[in-house]
């Protein structure tokens, strides 16, 4: 029951803050709503027994991504122009709603067999074991490392002035 309550609160919160990100006049407010949204998503992970992911969510999204974004906002000094919306509002709205309808329709029409699920917490070791085992994702992990390297080099090259 508590799970249900938590879900609804978190769900409303995440959707609400996501909408707020979009409709906020002030770009800083948008960033803040985004952080709240990330928190809500972290909470949702918890309701899904993925505590480890929730932790990473907080660390990566709030600790890194959000900060980056705020840096971006400040570096570009666009805050004074607010956060206006473009001309494509109506078509975008239609597309978004139709797509949402299609997605929800598809999801609900699918015959989900294991609707109940397990309440057992996922152990971090299991995740680590799968990532770092030879039968798991150790290569992927290495690729992700290369990707970060590429991102770092790219970011440096792009931002550094000659």
């Amino acid at each position: 029951m508590s799970l249900t309550v938590a879900f609804w609160i978190l769900a409303v919160m995440s959707v609400g803050t996501a909408l707020a990100v979009i409709f906020a006049r002030d770009i800083f407010h948008a960033a803040l709503f985004l952080i709240v949204c990330f928190f809500a998503v972290a909470g949702i992970y918890v309701t899904l027994n993925a505590d480890f992911l929730a932790a990473i969510q907080v660390l990566v999204y709030i600790g890194a991504v959000s900060v980056l974004l705020i840096f971006g906002i400040m570096l570009t000094r666009e805050a004074k122009r607010g956060s206006p919306a473009g001309k494509l509002r109506i078509p975008a709205l239609i597309v978004a709603f139709v797509l949402l309808g299609v997605m929800i329709g598809s999801i609900l029409s699918f015959d989900w067999q294991p609707a109940a699920g397990m309440d057992e917490m996922v152990r971090t070791q299991d995740i680590a074991g799968l990532i770092f085992s030879e039968n798991g994702y150790v290569l992927t992990f290495e690729i992700a490392g290369l990707m970060l390297l590429a991102a770092i080099i790219g970011a440096i090259v792009l931002v550094r002035k000659e």
Partner: protein, 670 residues
């Protein structure tokens, strides 16, 4: 003397053709300064042809059925189709060979004088050689394809010769007109050849003759084929309604006109009908058409000759008219033969004697008349009779020959044309019934012929001289004969004239005894003999036996009338002209046929009508569609690229829209 071997017959037309090639390829390019050799070569080669023709005639006379048998030579093989080369020599061929080579020889000799000094001398003789050679080849052709080949070559040569002075717009136009009008007729001949080949699988003339008279070809098919062949003859022989080219054809040098009007070009049509007569005789319709067109053309052309002021034009209309006679003769003789009953191949060939005999006599007379008119021109520098007069004093020999020619043409006893023309009138009369109208037309034409011929004689040679070429009627380039000297022509021009005169006087005698008819395989006795006989035995007398007499009288009346108007001037020509002003105008304007053809049909209806519509359609519809599709594609490109706004959010939206469309499509299709 032995029978002529086959190769010698081939040589009859090959020698002139080779001489043409020799002049064109060797003399003209490399020895143009010795152009006189071109004349000698031509005269020699045609002379040889004449000798060989005589030999041929001799051999034909000596052979059974008056026919020499030669086998065809295989030429081209395509699959199951074989085309052969062969020659056909019978009495018709032999006659034509003689007439053609003789007339041509006379004309070539005459040209030595007439064309002397012309810059195109060699070219002239090359074309003349080829012209003669083609005509001889046409006469000898053993199958229709061969015949068609020479038929077209004759047309080509007439084109080259009529347009000999190509720098004169009128000559260039006349040459083109001649070729095109005859080609229209050729289309009919071509269609007939295709049709006959389709029906019988052969183009061999001998085989076709046989198949036609044995009934192997249906009568309706014969009618179609005969009409097609006749269309070709109508074009070449300038019959109504394709007569328009011949009067203009006088734009060529006068000797050319002489040749065209006598033995080569126009007689080819008559020859063709005679050659294919077994096909015509199988179809009464076709024969009626031939006779009717002939009779109508005869009077139709004569009417225009009445008012022509150009001496060559008078002669030209006269030619058309006489060709009409020949057609009438062929058609009428055929119809009479059909009425008399069973038609055999021999009979079918024999009845052509009537038309061909007139062809022969007319050829000599007409060649002489044209050469005479050339002689007149040589002296006066013009062809306009209004500018002549009184020339008999200055050109006595020319006057003599021209007079004899006219008398002959008018059908006065005992000159050549009298005999042949009367035979035609007799046949026309014998047809009876409604076809009698053709006879009356012929008789009226006889009157008109005598009248206009003597009108020409009187205007040209009698009265007082009216000034020659001061009117610049033909411009300064006129023949290179601009200098007026009222002198008789040189001997080289007179001798052929005199030779032809002899023939024009005597040629008719060939049939006085019916010899010519028999030569063609017939058994008729000439009407004049009947009359002669009937005078002593009145009980055998028939109406038709009076006809020669009547026509003789008619001719004399016409000559008197012409004399009254143009010589003694008892009657004013102007007054008559005023009296029949509307007729005069119609005749003088040639029934507006030139205008109808050139301005209405060709220019208005075709070139600026149908053809223009085609062109507009091509430019704006066919090509417009192509350019429209291309332009549409480009335009589409330019429009669609507008969607590439440069704004990344449009792009993102398109992505999602695309996803939705794909999903929609998947469901829509299933």
């Amino acid at each position: 003397m032995a029978d002529i071997p086959e190769f010698a017959v081939w040589l009859i037309f090959l020698i002139p053709v080779f001489s043409a090639a020799l002049i064109a390829v060797v003399i003209r390019p490399f020895f143009n300064n010795k152009a006189q050799f071109a004349g000698y070569i031509t005269i020699t080669s045609i002379g040889v042809s004449l000798l060989l023709s005589l030999w041929t005639l001799y051999s034909v006379l000596g052979s059974p059925h008056h026919e020499l048998e030669f086998h065809a030579h295989q030429w081209v093989v395509i699959g199951s189709t074989q085309v052969s080369l062969g020659i056909m020599v019978d009495s018709l061929t032999a006659t034509m060979l003689l007439v053609v080579s003789l007339c041509s020889l006379m004309v070539q000799i005459y040209s030595q004088g007439y064309m002397h000094g012309d810059p195109g001398y060699a070219r002239y003789y090359a074309a003349m050689s080829l012209f003669t050679g083609s005509m001889l080849g046409l006469v000898l052709a053993g199958n229709l394809i061969q015949l068609y080949v020479f038929w077209e070559l004759v047309g080509l040569c007439s084109y080259l010769l009529i347009g000999f002075w190509f720098h004169r717009p009128s000559a260039a136009a006349a040459a083109k007109k001649a070729f095109l009008v005859t080609r229209l007729g050729d289309f009919g001949l071509l269609a007939a050849i295709l049709y006959l080949y389709f029906k019988t699988g052969t183009v061999d003339i001998g085989e076709l003759h046989y198949l036609a008279v044995t009934g192997a070809i249906a009568a309706s098919a014969l009618t179609l084929a005969a009409i097609g062949i006749f269309a070709g003859a109508v074009g070449k022989s300038a019959q109504f309604p394709l007569h328009v080219w011949l009067p203009d054809a006088m734009e060529g040098p006068t000797p050319v006109s002489a040749l065209i009007h006598s033995a080569t070009m126009v007689s080819a049509g008559v020859f063709l009908v005679a050659r294919m007569f077994p096909i015509f005789i199988g179809s009464e319709t076709a024969l009626t058409v031939v006779a009717s067109i002939g009779a109508f053309t005869a009077i139709f052309a004569a009417s225009m000759a009445l008012v022509a002021t150009d001496i060559k034009r008078v002669l030209a209309y006269c030619t058309i008219s006489q060709l009409g006679y020949m057609m009438l003769g062929l058609g009428a003789a055929g119809l009479v033969a059909v009425e008399e009953g069973h038609v055999t191949l021999e009979l079918a060939k024999a009845v052509t004697a009537v038309g061909i005999f007139h062809l022969v006599t007319h050829a000599f007379a007409k060649a002489m008349l044209f050469l005479g008119s050339g002689s007149v021109n040589h002296a006066t520098g013009t062809f306009d009779m209004r500018l002549m007069g009184g020339l008999r004093k200055h050109l006595p020999w020319t006057y003599l020959t021209f007079l004899i020619g006219s008398v002959c043409m008018a059908g006065v006893w005992p000159l050549a044309c009298f005999w042949s023309k009367d035979e035609i009138l007799v046949k026309a009369f014998e047809m009876g019934d409604a076809r009698m109208i053709l006879f009356y037309l012929g008789m009226i034409t006889a009157f008109m012929t005598a009248f206009y011929m003597f009108r020409a004689v009187f205007l040209t040679f009698h009265g007082a001289y009216r000034g020659g070429a001061h009117g610049e009627a033909h411009g300064k380039n006129d023949h290179g004969h601009g200098e007026v000297h009222l002198h008789e022509s040189p001997k080289v021009m007179l001798i052929p004239l005199l030779l032809l005169m002899v023939l024009a006087i005597t040629a008719g005698l060939a049939n006085v005894t019916g010899w010519f008819d028999r030569f063609f395989g017939g058994h008729h006795v000439y009407a004049w003999s009947h009359l002669h006989e009937a005078l002593w035995n009145p009980e055998v007398l028939r109406h038709s036996h009076y006809i020669p007499l009547i026509s003789f009288v008619v001719a004399l009346l016409a000559i008197d009338l012409a004399s009254a108007i143009y010589n003694s001037r008892w009657i004013s020509a102007e007054a008559i002209g005023r009296m029949f002003r509307s007729f005069y105008k119609v005749f003088y304007r040639k029934y507006w046929f030139d205008e109808l053809y050139e301005q209405v049909i060709i220019v208005r209806v075709l070139v600026n009508g149908v053809f223009r519509i085609c062109q507009v359609f091509d430019t704006y519809v066919v090509d417009g569609l192509v350019n429209g599709v291309a332009g549409g594609t480009m335009l589409a490109g330019r429009v669609i690229r507008k969607a590439e706004t440069g704004r990344l959010q449009t792009y993102a939206l398109v992505m999602f829209l695309g996803i939705l469309i794909i999903i929609g499509l998947v469901y829509w299709i299933t």
